[in-house]
């Protein structure tokens, strides 16, 4: 799958986006009131939706990785960028009631506020592009590299040797029940 050509990837990306946008809209997440309602504690739909999506995604990701069909791509642990970014992101989400994906779905569904939010996002992205060369050092200060919760180094791009599957060695024997 990884060696598909550019236009196939783009078409698949587009198809993924259409499904994503439709699901966000049908789930009520293309509405700033749902997101603000989650933040104020009046509406738990965001938590229910995201929690389920993460749980299902995590199981699928483990399954794919064990078969060498995907890789770990944890984003780097840059404390400054992550903490500063999370504070700005949380504040912006409380103010606009959107995030980058839900704003796109909202704009598509006809909400003006989604379009305004997207306009602000594109402007800020341009400012980020202009300032990134100067910010880079600060954002990556004290980086811990790519860290996963398991503490393991990310899986290699190549699948594990075949003998693990066909004839398990002692140290590769299942330690815990498969999930």
């Amino acid at each position: 799958m990884a060696d598909m050509n550019e236009s196939t990837r783009n078409a698949l990306g587009m198809a993924t986006g259409i499904a994503f946008g439709a699901l966000l809209q049908r789930g009520g997440l293309a509405d700033s009131r749902t997101i603000v309602g989650q933040l104020t504690g009046e509406d738990a739909r965001v938590a229910k939706t995201m929690g389920t999506a993460v749980a299902v995604g995590a199981l699928g990701h483990r399954w794919l990785r064990r078969r060498g069909l995907t890789t770990d791509e944890p984003k780097p642990m840059n404390p400054v960028g992550l903490v500063g970014g999370a504070v700005l992101f949380g504040a912006g989400m409380a103010l606009s009631g959107y995030c980058p994906g839900t704003a796109a779905a909202a704009a598509g569904s006809g909400r003006r506020e989604g379009m305004w939010a997207m306009a602000g996002m594109l402007a800020a992205a341009a400012v980020f592009v202009a300032t990134y060369p100067r910010l880079k050092k600060a954002l990556e200060a004290g980086t811990l590299g790519r860290v996963t919760l398991a503490g393991s180094t990310p899986a290699r791009a190549t699948p594990r040797p075949l003998d693990v599957v066909v004839r398990p060695r002692a140290e590769d024997a299942p330690v815990k029940p498969a999930s």
Binding site: N10, A11, M14, D31, A104
Partner: protein, 184 residues
Amino acid sequence: MSTHRHDSGSGAAIDRGPSPYLIGAAIGLLNICAFAAFRKGIGVSGAYESTAALAARRLAPDAVHVNDYVKARKDPPKFNWESWLVLGTILGGMAAARTLDGNDASRVDDRPGAEPKRLPLASAAGGAMLMFGARMADGCTSGHALSGTAQGAGSSWLFTPLMFGVGSLLARRARGARRRGGEV
């Protein structure tokens, strides 16, 4: 714009649509497809950055220092599958809002008793803040909260609770102020 097909009087009778667990499971399955097809989960905010960089290169390469940016990023910006994904998200939102009685936005926004609409400035300023934050952190609600946490990425498990915590705190304070003052 003003087709109120809803029973406008009763604010309680809002159709909340399908179960959030069902929607969440479907998004999770979709993300699994993305993990397999792209070897990467769904991510959205990166496409805003590359789109902005491409636009800047065309419109004002010197003012935005696009060359320095490309050098620092090491990767020239491209309109790739992630950008197509964002375009698709817009189309998906459009399609869902227009079919299956999908909560047409213009109708819902005009419903009497709905919370006051956000000022365009608030939407744009909020969008700007969160996008700058997302690029600082290298991910947003999709790349970190959805895909990164599913992979057990340490960075995503730091970013996600912190950003929801900060957002919660501020949204609760804003609601308190609104209730006291009656004005946003």
